[in-house]
Symmetry: none
Subunit: 424 residues, 2 copies
């Protein structure tokens, strides 16, 4: 087992004008190889701060992997900082110098003194050849057995250097035989705190496999990550834990890994030979937009009406003017008439409807911002409505109501036939 | 002047399965406010390592800004680590607890003990209110004057907390005056390469103010950034450059800074006392979703029909069956009938319609994936259609067609009356 921290060098990473994608790539490849990535850092082109970051990282981990700061200019300082941190001087790597000279001859340019600087490496370091550029990478060693591996920041040079040279080196040196396999359980209709309440003991008991809960926009993913010497072994470690979590979250897990809620809904509709339409007021087209994300959705999604103005609720969905007058547009009666109207007029077998107050205006004492009615017209003329008050601003209310509507449709579809096989 | 380091907390950031975009956002906003960002770090859900990272960061910088690890679960450890690093215990923030209780009552769910944990903050800390979720942020203070500011990792909660609470707090506490002032010119209906061609010389000539072009989903922003000791001075540096760029991009700049295309469209519709409806096939509700993003959009947006299935084009928009049979659903004739049908049946003054092939299936030799017809039915029974072939996958085609439809509507509205004052 070996642990590392990552250090990305470059002031441009700290101005926020570009997103650092190197770190995720390096972390992913190292994790796959069984390396424990403890932390990652981005630091500007400042020698003192790079040294300080390297030293504190080496106090926690077996080694450090850096990207960037190996170029020929004065603000490329990674190599100098590594020498400072490990107490080393530099030596010329003749093979790298020869290669560089060949390169400059080939392109007909003059090699500058600052290019020679690129062929200098920390004394005793092992070179990581650069097949796609002039600056070699290297692994430098401290007296205490720690190491610092340095690669260029240009993704096209760094990526092959990592996979073809650094990972094989680490595998061999640390006799790595393990990798990480991940399984994601995707849930809907349940809060993060409720998931935590149900599985916290599993969380605490298990370091490998490790469990994580990630919430995003009204949906939660439960991730199970296992480290093992083969994907088969990892799978064997994940299986019983997955079964236990699925048992405790029964009725909330809609899919796994890359599956989407709208994709699972599409498959269920297809399997049962059902179609759906929508009648949206406060969600303003978002449910339709979600349902049409899935390729082939025209087979299960008929279409919909965005009935923002009351006149459209009447003209296109057949909501009775009297219902609107008596109960108001945001009411159980109206949301039910919308769903039933969609089934009838759009000729679908199911329909989902929404009406609510997304705000910031339009609230009354009885009907606050965030109040949303969602209805589902099922087969055989049935209709079911649910009232929810969603927190957050206009965008959050619109998004959460959309997720809740899809969650309601999914729930209906899974229960539609008693023995629906679970989508896998 | 104040210096900070950033710490993103979460094991998922170190597995390389997601790219951390929070850090770039926070770095950007802080740099704009004149804060020196020395370094950024990502660390897993491990209390000891979070503490060690915080301590070494505080040895180099005046403060630390963290994201993530404030949730209710057992692997949310940021608050505990901050208390360890600064030598503080926690206290209850009653306001946050009350807000949380209201939330759980409203949604009809039971508050768990682990939710109460979210209302605990380090003793003496200043609360950063969370308008979009339950977990409050805070700024905790060390005995030596250093600080650690903690925000949630959910971008929708973190971003407003940063701009509305943390940045103003830092500005006031450190009397920040040298800052970067940014002016954004927002364009539509013009390609990034065409913008580059028109303003490349200005680009090269100017270091401060600096110019950047950022493309996203069929729209481009031109950013002008000036560094100066006061916003007024920066404004004075930006003004002549802005005027020159606007002259060169005449007819493509729809707004500035935080203005949105749909917001500008809403204002123009209101000013001219016009209303719009939509008839969407391949965009599947996305134009309606965009138009309803703006608060108060019910005043200018009547509603729409998502006519995915041909039967809906006939029943809800009055498209003639013969037109569909003769020309196919993806045709100039059908898209025009859709727009005219929407104006008539939804009783709006304008309507925008789309029909196309988002793929991956459904293409023919004459009608490739990416082919989209967009029509605009104007006042007085006029209708205008445009054919475009959009590149990219299904999601990109759906998004670009939506932007193009909004761009067409905006163009029509700006030309509608010869002397429309520019939205500012």
């Amino acid at each position: 087992m070996v642990s590392v921290e990552l250090v990305a060098v470059g002031t441009e990473l700290l101005l926020g004008q570009l997103v650092d994608t190197n770190t995720a790539f390096v972390a992913h490849r190292l994790a796959d190889a069984g390396v424990d990535v403890y932390a990652s850092h981005a630091v500007g082109d400042n020698r003192e701060r790079i040294v300080s970051t390297l030293r504190s990282a080496l106090s926690r981990a077996d080694g450090v992997v850096t990207t960037g700061g190996l170029g020929p200019t004065v603000d490329d300082l990674t190599k100098e900082a590594v020498c400072d941190a490990l107490g080393l001087d530099t030596e010329l790597d003749q093979a790298s110098l020869n290669k560089m000279e060949d390169f400059f001859t080939a392109v007909g340019r003059t090699m500058r003194e600052n290019n020679v600087k690129q062929a200098m490496i920390p004394r005793g370091a092992r070179v990581l050849p650069n097949a796609h550029g002039t600056a070699p990478g290297f692994v430098a060693f401290g007296a205490d057995g720690t190491f610092v591996a340095c690669m260029p920041g240009v993704p096209g040079e760094m990526k092959p250097m990592l996979t073809e040279h650094l990972v094989p080196f680490l595998r061999e040196r640390y006799a790595l035989s393990t990798g990480v396999t991940t399984r994601v359980l995707r849930t809907v209709n349940i809060a993060e705190s409720e998931i935590d309440h149900r599985i916290a003991d599993l969380f605490r008991a298990s370091e490998n496999p490790k469990i994580a809960v990630l919430a995003h926009g009204g949906r939660c993913d439960v991730k199970i990550m296992a480290k093992a010497s083969s994907p088969q072994d990892a799978q064997g470690m994940i299986a019983p834990l997955q079964a236990e979590i699925e048992r405790r979250l029964d009725g909330f897990v809609f899919g796994h890994d890359g599956e989407t809620l709208e994709g699972v809904i599409h498959d269920l509709l297809q399997r049962h030979q059902l179609t759906v339409s929508v009648a949206e007021s406060c969600t303003g087209g978002r449910i339709a937009a979600a349902l049409t994300r899935t390729p082939g959705s025209s087979k299960s999604f008929v279409g919909g009406v965005v009935a923002y103005d009351n006149s459209v609720k009447i003209s296109h969905l057949g909501v009775a003017r009297q219902t609107l007058d008596s109960f108001g547009a945001v009411s159980e009666q109206v949301v039910c008439e919308m769903a039933l109207g969609a089934v009838e007029r759009l000729a679908s077998t199911l329909a989902i409807s929404t009406t609510g107050i997304a705000g910031p205006d339009g609230a009354t004492r009885e009907k606050p911002v965030g109040l949303v009615w969602i209805a589902l017209a099922g087969t055989n003329g049935t209709v079911n409505a649910r009232r929810t008050e969603f927190p957050g601003n206009r965008a959050a209310i619109q998004d959460r109501a959309t997720t809740a509507a899809l969650g309601m449709l999914w729930k209906y579809l899974t229960a539609w036939e008693p023995n629906v096989p679970r989508p896998t």
